[in-house]
Amino acid sequence: MLLGNSGFFGSEPVQTALIVGTCAALVSALIGMFTVLRGNAFAGHALADVSSAGGAASLLLGVSPLLGFLGMAWIAAFGMEFLGVRKVRERDLATGIVLGAGLGLSALLLYLDVTTTSTTGAAVSVMFGSMFAIPRSLVGPALMASAAVFLLAGLLYRPMLLTAVDPDLAAARGISPRWIGLLQLLTLGLAVAVCALAIGAVLATALLIGPAGAAIRLSRRPAQAIFWASVIGLTAVWGGIWMAYESYYWFSGNAWPVSFFVVTLVFLFYLVAVLVARVTGLSARPKPVIWPHCEA
């Protein structure tokens, strides 16, 4: 088997998967929180799906898939911003239309991949990822893209948070919610590219939204939410890589895909978070409160 028999940590594909997977989990935790807070989960999903066209194009052009994912995610980000995002309904519509067009393009490019370059596994690898097949040469670019996400999100942390809380409050401070929104989408595009490389374009959303969504239910503070999202994301990614590696022995030589395990673990964590939040009453609905003045 391609993983070799040098043990879990000794295997080069496992090492590469662990590095890229760690990057994906950490950038997702950071930018995922802002994406969930702004109600941009669908936009994030669309960026990831559309980026599959970039991944497919990169195989045709012979460039790095990371560049392909990133380029297409950014084009989609500009497209959604240009088509209008003023009202929630319009935003969903613009997002859906860009999503449809992007996946259509992806269908064509993947067809061309298979017919002209005979890259047979292209569709599965672009859409659903194949973590143990990531070339070692992509580790550097993945680390750089992740560093860029940390830099941008770190720099814009407070303006993005204030805009997510209420765009009017941000505008009164001289922050342009529109610019912040666009910069946030571009940062999200970088994170999408790293996640798409790790677990595939279609499944990237699971990592981008799931851990952040779970962590938000468990936290009182934004930094706490990012911390828990990182813990959940890393556990899912590392656990998924380990389970996929071990599954080679469970299913007599037919290892199951890493992406399946990662996404399933994220889903389970989300369920647990919802239950914990219910039981501890952390995300209870607001209760009516009587003013102290009125009790007298």
């Binding site: 929180m33 807070l37 770190g154 720099l155 814009l156 942390y157 407070r158 303006p159 948070l161 204030l162 997510a164 809380v165 209420d166 009017d168 409050l169 941000a170 505008a171 009164a172 401070r173 001289g174 922050i175 962590a215 938000i216 239910r217 936290s219 009182r220 503070r221 934004p222 706490q224 939410a225 952390l282 995300s283 209870a284 609905r285 607001p286 209760k287 009516p288 409160v289 009587i290 003013w291 003045h293 009125c294």
Partner: protein, 274 residues
């Protein structure tokens, strides 16, 4: 008297080719509460946006402490009308208040004792200490309103602007809020500008009134503005001003000839009256 903190002179604003505000002028001094009264579409929100430096004016000027509004943002605290805070947002009341202090800054927030002291002071000023460590999404409407006022107050503004703060509040919360605004104005000596549909809840604390009708304003004290001849001119239709105790009601007059015409029509078709 000292210089006005806010000075609006002959302000006219057009939006999308339509004239929204026409020749609005008023001054606001520290320690005064000014109510901006008008119906939906009268131009209240546009006027507030001009004061925040978010809308370009056609003519006239808005000066805050003697300078254009967009250069004096640090002096202005703003409480927007609709604050729909997501119940799940992982943000405590004190985090929201701290964003009022440094939310526009780049980079990660660092802990500082000075900042914490300012945040605690703002929480105390609005009576929000009891829910300072609760998530803002879990608070009631009145508590959220206080949290956002603390957010606006934490930078110690000299002018506090509130857009429809009494909408969606029950009577008890509304009275408590009016009392708080009175304290901020008359004890802490901040200039406060409040928009509302109805002037009555604000009458006990109001020093000045800007009455907006269709983009034009009458300004002055309540006794100067709320008079049939002033408001009648503004509405372009005769009005009656009813005072009952400490309440004021402004009603459009029914012109005598119209009333007679109605009666005449009624009399000439008695069979339709039943």
């Amino acid at each position: 008297m000292s210089d006005p903190i806010l000075s609006v002179a002959h302000l006219s604003v057009d939006l999308g080719g339509r004239s929204i505000l026409r020749d609005v002028s008023f001054d606001l001094y520290p320690g005064q509460l000014c109510a901006l009264i008008g119906e939906n579409g009268a131009g209240k929100t546009t006027l507030l946006r001009s004061l925040l430096g978010l809308t370009a004016q056609r003519s006239g000027q808005v000066l805050i402490d003697g300078a254009p509004a967009d250069q004096r943002r640090a002096l202005v605290g703003y409480v927007p009308q609709k604050i729909a805070l997501d119940p799940d947002i992982p943000l405590r009341t004190r985090d929201l208040v701290q964003l009022g202090l440094d939310g526009h800054r780049l980079g990660l927030p660092l802990f500082s004792g000075r900042k914490k002291a300012l945040v605690d002071q703002a929480l105390y000023a609005v009576g929000a200490e009891a829910f300072a460590d609760q998530r803002v999404g879990e608070l009631s409407g009145g508590q959220q309103q206080r949290a956002v006022i603390a957010h606006a107050l934490v930078r110690q503004p000299r002018l506090l602007i509130l857009d429809e703060p009494l909408a969606n509040l029950d009577f008890g919360s509304a009275n408590a809020l009016v009392a708080l605004l009175g304290t901020l104005t008359h004890i802490q000596h901040i200039a406060v500008l409040v928009t509302a549909h109805d002037m009555n809840p604000l009458l006990p604390v109001m020093d000045r009134l800007v009455y907006l009708v269709g983009g034009q304003a009458a300004t002055g004290s309540v006794d100067e503005v709320v008079r049939p001849e002033v408001l009648g001119k503004l509405y372009g239709h005769p009005v009656t001003v009813l005072r009952h105790g400490r309440r004021i009601l402004v009603l459009p007059d029914v012109a005598a000839e119209d009333a007679e015409a109605c009666t005449a029509a009624h009399m000439s078709h008695p069979e339709k009256a039943d």
